[in-house]
């Protein structure tokens, strides 16, 4: 096969790839790959999912192929992007819909699916972009665009499958795993749209090209949504392993000992000061620094705002966005949000508030049908850890001026 060396391929180390020349040239030109060969390539490339959980794509593909007896499997593209701080998936669907659809088609062939779904936020402009793109493609795989209601957890994989099946857009308890029984009871492969675009690049340019940037254990590039107190906001494509400080420098941020960055998204982790400097853009590089790669969010906290007040605002949102089906998520996130609001705004925030948040953050872990409580709890614990000095200030002297200002402006 000529997949490993393509003379038309742009130099692999030239970035952006997905959002640059390489993506532009490959888009809409997916060549069929012999059944089974793509799984081998996915393995060799070490590609992991970009929707947050970071699971190896090859393993998911294999699980679906194993489960496919007489039932034809289904492939689902997750382009819902309910994370309010993330815009990478919308950008991909708007600017490179064919690359996403190439990946979707390739994976459909690989598992033997003839039917696929593409979930997009209801009413989003991307609906038109992908619909237009679909009209210009062969119909070997029937792709239906599904508009998904606006709720944070509606884009969690089981909620998305339930919605496609005509049910409510809320998560369900697994097992059965999606790979065994998903849409219409069929084995179902669910992938984030950035993952699909990466699959298309990999199939077009080959493993060698794919692995030429990034790191041995996490090759390739990541899309990041860089926003907040930055000079140049936008979606950046960076090689895995790039220091977070370099990304921030590119965005025009002057790092100091106090710079605080929310990494991963609302279900992610706060990083501050030295931790920001020690982080790099990969799952391992973020985890080691106490951050999270998550959905690729890098949001810089404006220096004039109160981190506790910001966190309390997000905590309130996350508690409201719980599907409310699981007791520990429903009551646990409500309790966590209340404790965070107390810390941020009450004049008599007590010294135990931070410990209560740590205790409850731990207590909600693994207690729901989906990972919403795990992410929310981890996010809140990271706030009281990263901003311990602010916590002490609020406990000793009540809400700071910034928190009070934020409360007034929210009314």
């Amino acid at each position: 096969m000529s997949l490993l060396t393509d003379v038309r391929a742009p130099a692999p180390a030239v970035l952006p790839r997905l959002l640059g020349d390489a993506g532009m040239r490959a888009a809409g030109r997916a060549r069929p790959v012999r059944r089974g060969a793509l799984t081998t390539m996915l393995d060799a490339a070490g590609l992991r999912g970009r929707g947050g959980a970071g699971f190896p794509v090859a393993a998911k593909v294999r699980a679906v192929r194993r489960a496919t007896g007489l039932r034809r499997p289904v492939v689902v593209a997750n382009g819902v992007e309910s994370e309010p701080l993330s815009h990478k998936d919308a950008l991909l669907l708007r600017s490179f819909p064919h690359l996403v659809l190439d990946g979707l088609t390739l994976l459909a062939h690989e598992v033997g699916a003839t039917r696929a779904y593409l979930g997009v936020a209801a009413g989003a402009v991307e609906v038109d972009d992908v619909t237009a793109a679909l009209h210009r493609r062969p119909r070997d795989v029937e792709v239906e665009v599904v508009e998904v209601p606006h709720r944070y957890v509606a884009s969690e994989s089981s909620a998305l499958l339930s919605w496609i099946d005509g049910g409510a857009a809320v998560p369900y308890v697994r097992p059965p795993w999606e790979a065994e029984r998903g849409v219409g009871g069929r084995p179902t492969l669910v992938h984030n749209v950035e993952t699909l675009a990466q699959v298309a690049l990999l199939a077009y340019y080959g493993v060698h090209w794919f692995r030429a940037v990034g790191q041995p254990d996490e090759p390739g590039t990541f899309l990041l949504t860089v926003d907040g107190a930055v000079a140049t906001r936008g979606v950046y494509e960076v090689a895995a392993g790039t220091p977070l400080a370099d990304v921030l420098e590119r965005a025009g941020v002057a790092l100091d000992a106090d710079t605080a960055v929310l990494t991963g998204g609302y279900l992610g982790r706060w990083l501050r000061g030295a931790a920001v400097r020690s982080a790099s853009v990969s799952r391992a590089g973020m985890d080691a620094a106490g951050g999270a790669l998550g959905a690729g969010v890098v949001h810089v906290l404006p220096p004039e705002s109160c981190p506790l007040a910001e966190t309390a605002r997000v905590a309130t949102y996350l508690a409201e966005q719980s599907a409310g089906q699981c007791g520990p998520c429903r009551y646990g996130l409500a309790a966590l949000a209340e404790a965070m609001r107390a810390l941020a705004w009450w004049p008599d925030a007590d010294a135990q508030a931070a410990n209560r948040i740590r205790r409850w953050g731990e207590m909600v872990k693994g207690r729901g049908a989906c990972r919403h409580p795990d992410g929310a709890g981890g996010f809140l614990v990271s706030a009281v850890d990263a901003f311990a000095d602010h916590v002490d200030g609020h406990v000793g002297h009540g809400a700071c001026a910034a928190a009070a200002r934020e409360l007034r402006s929210a009314r």
């Binding site: 393993a59 699980a63 089906q325 309790a335």
Partner: protein, 77 residues
């Protein structure tokens, strides 16, 4: 074969009656909101009978007794 069992709570079905915690305190604790937490340790021998009774007593059938499957986790994503 007898050692490989574990208790699980279906978080959607569980209504927090806590009958289970009374019947199986060896593996279940109550959280701060009145819902049972499993500790994840396997259930075997004499305890298995207690676990079966607790599962049967759950009004919503939310307490499940499963064969401990290893390697299954690897398929989630």
């Amino acid at each position: 074969m007898s050692g490989a069992w574990e208790v699980r709570v279906d978080p959607i079905e569980c209504a927090g009656h806590l009958l289970c915690v009374e019947l199986l305190p060896e593996r279940l604790r109550v959280d701060d909101w009145g819902y049972p937490m499993v500790d994840g340790r396997p259930v075997s021998g004499e305890l298995l009978a207690h676990a079966r009774r607790a599962a049967a007593a759950c009004p919503t059938l939310a307490l499940r007794l499963n064969r401990r499957e290893t390697g299954k986790e690897a398929e989630r994503g």
